[in-house]
């Protein structure tokens, strides 16, 4: 049988050997956590505590009334020592954050109470629990889960997809979670499905993780409507649109099209697991699994980390650097964000911390494009990066728009495959930014 997959894509080396056999272990209790009030693309929260306040684990410390938003909670107990802008790992600029000095006691806040059995909860209650617990997509984008599981009435949902592809090289956090916590993931998945509500669910895993596939298959045995699907290992299999195409053969329309438009909701396995924790213990999202890895990390590991722990703290726990690092990345090597300092906190979207060696840090100077068309062949959106990028380099945003630059996923396949090492996705990203800004301006002018 032909393996389920999508068109285009690349096969970068996995580099997962470093950590795929490493069981998840708890990271050391941090002495200090930095929790940015903005964790995702949505509206930033307002601080609910002040400098000098005592806080307990699970206490809500930031929230907002905005719809596309999720509250943040204290991940340690102790004293708030500052409410001030701190360097944000995803946004690349200082953002308002709550800094808590841990007292090491791990006092749990009184609001943290186990929830009733899922069977006794209705969809609305589950959705509000998801919102209150601050759940967000743990795959990397950290989009608020409550919004995702609240599709508008006009868009009937028939399928739920749980994303366990983890197609980024190096990362193994989701992989280990599936191997070790499969029952909880299925538990959380069923709750998510009840919230939407939808009865058919797929768990999609790339076929380079046979142990995860086995564990999940075991966990869904006897669960009606749930199915585990092994997808071809090919980047970006973990992209929502590509995954839906692979498993259902449906194509999500270009932006502003969403998976909702083809009747699908996609969530990450980490998110499902976090919901299981919320329902079973009442503890909101205060920790996550992070893969700390890379060729210059002495002892790569999968760690369960309190949100707000600094990268430097985690790298130290993994034995520090074995050689001078050239690049420090939050996330995977294909779409991760390069950091200029290790003094940034783990946030909800931090799936991994990757340290590359100095000789891997530079791409080398680009040489002239020879129009080999590899970028066209691998583009999972069936775009023509060679032309879009050429126009973007000259600042001709309108021409880039004509080649649908705004539909780009920014997966980076084109830049990865380019033999001339040209900055394809980098320039297209710029064009996309300009095009969307121009569209917003036009919409406002109207």
């Amino acid at each position: 049988m032909r393996r389920k997959t999508f068109g285009g894509g690349v096969h970068p080396p996995h580099h997962k050997k470093l950590t795929e056999e490493q069981a998840i272990r708890d990271a050391r209790e941090p002495k200090l956590v930095v929790i940015p009030l903005s964790q995702h693309l949505g509206a930033p929260g307002n601080p609910l505590v002040q400098k000098g306040d005592q806080v307990a684990v699970g206490q809500k410390i930031g929230d907002t009334d905005a719809y596309v938003a999720a509250p943040v909670h204290a991940s340690v107990s102790g004293k708030v020592v500052a409410v001030e802008p701190r360097m944000h790992p995803a946004l690349g600029r200082p953002e308002l954050a709550i800094v808590i000095e841990s007292d090491g006691e791990g006092r749990v806040h009184e609001s943290v109470q186990p929830k009733p059995s899922v069977d006794d909860l209705d969809a609305d209650t589950i959705r509000s629990l998801i919102r209150e617990a601050g759940l967000a997509g743990l795959g990397g984008a950290a989009f608020p889960t409550a919004v995702k599981v609240s599709p508008p009435r006009s868009k009937p949902i028939d399928t739920f997809v749980l994303n366990g592809a983890e197609c980024e090289p190096f990362l193994t956090a989701d992989h280990r979670l599936m191997v070790e916590e499969a029952p909880d993931i299925v538990f959380g998945m069923k709750a998510l499905m009840k919230a939407i509500p939808v009865s058919r669910g797929f768990i999609c895993i790339e076929d380079n993780k046979p142990d995860a596939v086995r564990a999940m298959k075991e966990a869904v045995r006897g669960e009606p409507g749930l199915e585990v699907v092994a997808l071809e290992t090919r980047y970006p299999q973990g992209s929502e649109k590509q995954m839906i195409k692979s498993v259902l053969g449906r194509e999500v329309p270009p932006p502003p099209g969403l998976p909702l438009d083809v009747g699908v909701v996609v969530n990450n396995v980490g998110t499902a697991h976090a919901l299981a924790t919320v329902l079973k213990t009442g503890m909101p999202l205060v920790d996550r699994v992070v893969t700390v890895t890379g060729p210059v990390i002495t002892a790569p590991a999968n760690l369960r980390v309190k949100l707000g722990t600094l990268f430097s703290d985690l790298i130290e726990q993994c034995g520090g650097y074995s050689a001078l690092p050239g690049k420090l990345i939050m996330g995977g090597p294909m779409m991760g964000v390069a950091q200029h300092t290790a003094e940034v906190p783990v946030i909800k979207g931090t799936s991994g911390i990757l340290a590359l060696a100095e000789n891997q840090a530079w791409d080398g100077d680009p040489t002239p494009c020879i129009k080999c068309a590899r970028c066209v062949d691998v583009c999972p959106m069936q775009l023509v990066p060679v032309f879009m990028s050429a126009y973007a380099e000259r600042g001709q945003w309108d021409m880039a728009d004509r080649y649908n630059a705004a539909d780009c996923l920014e997966c980076g396949c084109c830049s990865y495959i380019c033999p001339a090492k040209r900055p394809l996705v980098q320039t297209i990203r710029l064009a996309k930014h300009e095009i969307l800004a121009a569209r917003r301006q036009r919409a406002q002018a109207r």
Partner: protein, 319 residues
């Protein structure tokens, strides 16, 4: 550690090991069997023509870049490919100064004056061949010899066309290259070896050579015979002339062929049709190089007409 600088750049942070010089190297390697076959078949003369052409192409590239003060990049291998392909298009007995001028024309006029690597709108080697053919028709259209015995002879295509009377070589002779023709085009086996190597390595896409050769075979089979439809000598038409050389190594030139998959199909079929047209009804016995040059010029249009459907976009149905 505190003052150690980390590199900050936009993702992706991982790049394939494939580089332009590596791709060019693979093409050169793929041309090697045909070059060796040519030396075996036509003797030291072939070696001399290839060496002179290759060297002059490299000199032209280096000289131009020195003059305009650009970084000299002859190491990327693209000038070497141009030189070697141009040599492959020469008759064995060509005076040696002819390919030297061809190399300078190819590299300086066709490639560098249009902006260098990646900017030429025609295949430099073929454009130079067309130039030489028009400039010194005598040197470029005579001097065909039979391998080993060195006796002047008509090419099989001239025979097929009825322009000369001679024995048409047997199929095995065509496969090995025991026929009169340009230096690098005669040995079908060597060219196929190189071509399949490039396909296997993923350096070239099957669409252009496949559609090109397929179309020529189909059209010459249908209309190339004297006894009515579908009596043409397909094998002779596909194995002679520059078809294999052109289809695998020249029509597939990245810079001058379409970037879209459907565009490559159009390119292949277009090349095939024009080649067959010239061979069967045109003024020349052979049309591979003109067909490729014409399709080179059409490439930007083909690209524009064959842009792929964007993922998730439904074709707009006429209401």
């Amino acid at each position: 550690m505190a003052d150690h600088k980390l590199v900050v750049s936009s993702s992706p942070h991982l790049r394939t090991k494939e580089t332009t010089p590596r791709l060019m190297g693979a093409v050169l390697l793929a041309l090697l069997p045909a070059a060796l076959a040519s030396i075996v078949l036509f003797g030291p003369r072939a070696l001399a023509v290839m060496a002179v052409t290759l060297a002059s192409a490299l000199v032209a590239e280096g000289l131009y870049m020195k003059i305009v003060r650009k970084p000299v990049t002859i190491a990327d291998g693209s000038a070497a490919i141009t030189g070697l392909l141009l040599a492959f298009n020469m008759p064995p007995m060509v005076p040696l100064w002819v390919p030297v001028i061809g190399s300078f024309f190819a590299i300086i006029v066709v490639k560098q004056l249009f902006g260098g690597l990646g900017q030429n709108f025609m295949n430099p080697a073929l454009a130079a061949r067309a130039f030489l053919l028009a400039a010194w028709p005598m040197s470029m259209t005579t001097g065909w010899v039979v391998p080993f015995d060195g006796v002047t002879s008509a090419t099989p295509l001239q025979v097929l066309r009825g322009m000369a009377s001679a024995r048409l070589p047997e199929t095995w002779e065509l496969l090995v290259g025991m026929r009169a023709g340009a230096l690098g085009e005669t040995s079908a086996v060597a060219l196929l070896l190189g071509g399949f190597y490039l396909l296997w390595k993923g350096v070239i896409d099957w669409r252009i050579p496949g559609c090109f050769i397929g179309t020529v075979a189909l059209v010459t089979w249908a209309f190339g015979g004297s006894g009515g439809l579908f009596t043409g000598n397909v094998l002779a038409h596909t194995l002679t002339g520059g078809l294999l050389l052109g289809a695998f190594f020249m029509a597939t030139d990245y810079v001058t062929s379409p970037v879209t998959r459907r565009g490559r199909v159009v390119m292949g079929i277009g090349c095939g049709l024009i080649t067959a047209l010239i061979r069967l009804w045109g003024g020349f016995p052979e049309g591979v190089s003109y067909s490729i040059l014409l399709m080179n010029v059409a490439t930007p249009l083909i690209d524009r007409a064959t842009l792929p459907r964007v993922f998730g976009q439904r074709r707009v149905k006429a209401a």
